[in-house]
């Protein structure tokens, strides 16, 4: 659909260019009527092109927004499902004195002493991946 729109646009641009070429070859003094007619045609085509481009960009923005929303929903669903499934299993277990004094917070919701809970790990991974993507982009 996007490709079709782009083709239409390029056709319109080519048409406008041709008309402008033709107009430049006409002398305004000698053939004013033809010049004016061409001018009107060019203006009409230009307006049509602008409307077309506007609608296409609006459509693209809408699609982008929808894709973003779907992505965020999927991400949230994945996180919730992972937490639901692995809420009692720690990601890894380390001696609890290593992660003192926040061992309870890190272990939430497993309750295992020294364990790293799925919630904490998801938050950490989320942040690290975000930073990595920023660095790459």
């Amino acid at each position: 659909m996007v490709q079709k729109d782009a083709e239409q646009e390029s056709e319109m641009r080519a048409e406008i260019q041709e008309m402008k070429k033709e107009q430049s070859s006409i002398s305004m003094m000698d053939e004013f009527a033809r010049y004016a007619r061409l001018e009107r045609k060019i203006n009409k085509m230009t307006d049509k092109l602008k409307t077309h481009v506007k609608s296409r960009t609006a459509q693209q923005a809408k699609m982008k927004w929808v894709v973003n929303i779907v992505f965020y929903i999927l991400q949230a669903a994945l996180m919730i499902s992972l937490i639901w499934k692995y809420y009692s299993d720690p990601v890894t277990v380390v001696p609890s004195r290593w992660i003192a004094p926040v061992e309870r917070l890190v272990a939430f919701p497993t309750g295992v002493a020294g364990g790293v809970g799925i919630t904490c790990w998801l938050v950490v991974c989320n942040k690290v991946v975000t930073l990595g993507l920023h660095a790459v982009s």
């Binding site: 990601v91 790293v116 993507l133 920023h134």
Partner: protein, 286 residues
Amino acid sequence: MESTEANEEKTGSVSAAQRRAEIRRKKLLMNSEDRMNRIVGFAKNEPENNGASRRAAEPRFHLELDRTELWSSPSSSPRPSPFLPEASVLSGHSRSATPERRGSPLPDCSELPPSLLEDSLRQRPRGERASDDVGGSPHRGFKKYLSRFDDAMKLRGQLANEKPSQDGGSDSEDFDPFRIFRLIGSILLAVFVRVFVCKYLSIFAPFLTLELAYMGLSKYFPKVEKKTKTTVLTAALLLSGIPAEVINRSMDTYRRMGDVFADLCVYFFTFILSHEILLLIGSETP
């Protein structure tokens, strides 16, 4: 004979009256703006003060960068519109209250000598000043409302401008050298702590020490001016009356906390990862 003399006297007095009326009209026209400002309760010094106070209330985080673009126009161009309709209304009121204000001379005034007329004109503003205070507060409120409306319109414009730039690129968090230094430092410290330190104390103690060191080292790195984004939240806070400076400081503190949190996440992630790798290597070696 007597009639011609009387006619001459009449024409002479009429022309004198006309002359006086002309003088009065000219005076009124010359000082009309000042008089209107005084009637409306808008003293000469007020526009400068209001411009300054408005500038203080304006969002500074955009002022530093885009001051001339965004905020110069309202400050440079005084707002005549709120006063013009009021002025026209008030001038109507004033005309009814003080008939001498009309352009056409009244028979009473024409008989008075010019000096008394001038005195009466001078005294009139003093009488009006008493009513200025009464009329001043609604006008001030109206001015305040208009300034808030202007701010809201400008913020809306800024939000609209910032939306495409945000949509075009991802978040505008650029990695400045200090940020990269912090992240690398956190990674290296995590590995060092896992290998040598974790057996003796908590892993967060070295992290806190590192953060304190970063606070001291930050001044040795070039400062990158971060353009504060005008979001809906900041716009709402501004319009609710919270001073821009408070918002700036809060945003700055929030940004610093975000940086520390990012360092902590990277540190913890690297620590756990290195722990797992060491366990793997330890399990693999015979």
